[in-house]
Amino acid sequence: MRTETQLIAAAQAGSADAFADLVQLYRDRLLRFLLTRCASYADAEDALQDTLINAYRYIRSYDSRWRFSTWLYRIAIRNAGKLRTPEVVELGDLRDEENDPLLQCISDSETENLWVSARRLLNDEVFAAMWLRYAEDLSVNDISTALDRSVSWTKVNLMRGRKTLDAAMNETENQSEAYG
């Protein structure tokens, strides 16, 4: 079995199969992230396909100083940003709970999934920063690279995101206790 470095080298040499093997580890995680940003499941799948095609097209520009996942997320975030044109945002606001891809993919839970609250309360960039930190366990430096923001911006907005979600979590818990 080839290592990630070997697969990257093979993909840079023009092997589409090596690239497909390389991204095997990241595809489900990327799709999960894109589900939080797209208006439908089909849009998220299209966004994933576009992300991977763009990543392969520019694989020769990949800098090995970065983590491969950081580089992939950077492309995915750019793609998701392109999808969120004003028309799409407008459609997204109108979407009902039945068609919301994120709600469709959340397994049954007693409390509201905190990422649903996060999507409602945070802007796209802060949401992405929070996701990369807590769902993907990326470092602050990697997040700032993926978002093309400074480290200080990332730190400040992670702190703000935490504060907002902490309040939302406490509120939900208090309501649960009140209703018994």
Binding site: L31, R57, I106, A135, M169
Partner: protein, 136 residues
Amino acid sequence: MDKLAKRLREDAGHIEAKVSDELDHRIRASLQGVTPVVEPQASKPPARPASFWLASSLTGIAAAAAVIAIINSQQVSLQQQAPVPQATPANILAAVPTIDLKTETAVMTSPLQQELDALQADIKKAEKLVREEIGL
């Protein structure tokens, strides 16, 4: 790990997303039609030579000196043109009530006095430099 981080991680795990076989085939087929290229780098503007910065600095200094000279010459002409105030009529002076203020001279502490002296000396130096620069 704190409570919020733990909850966020758990909730992310509750989002079930899996690439279907159909999407997998679609992606693999799309990749076969793509050839890797080198992403075009944004072209950087060529670096300016040192002489450019020297010329810019000299131009800036000359412009500043010219502005100072123009302002000073205007002040001189304004002072010359300003009408000399006439002597104040005595009846107005008589009408102005005099206020008997009991004031005491402020005794400046030594560090403040030194500071004042230093500032005055700086002002004199600066004034002398400006006069030399503009040739007065």
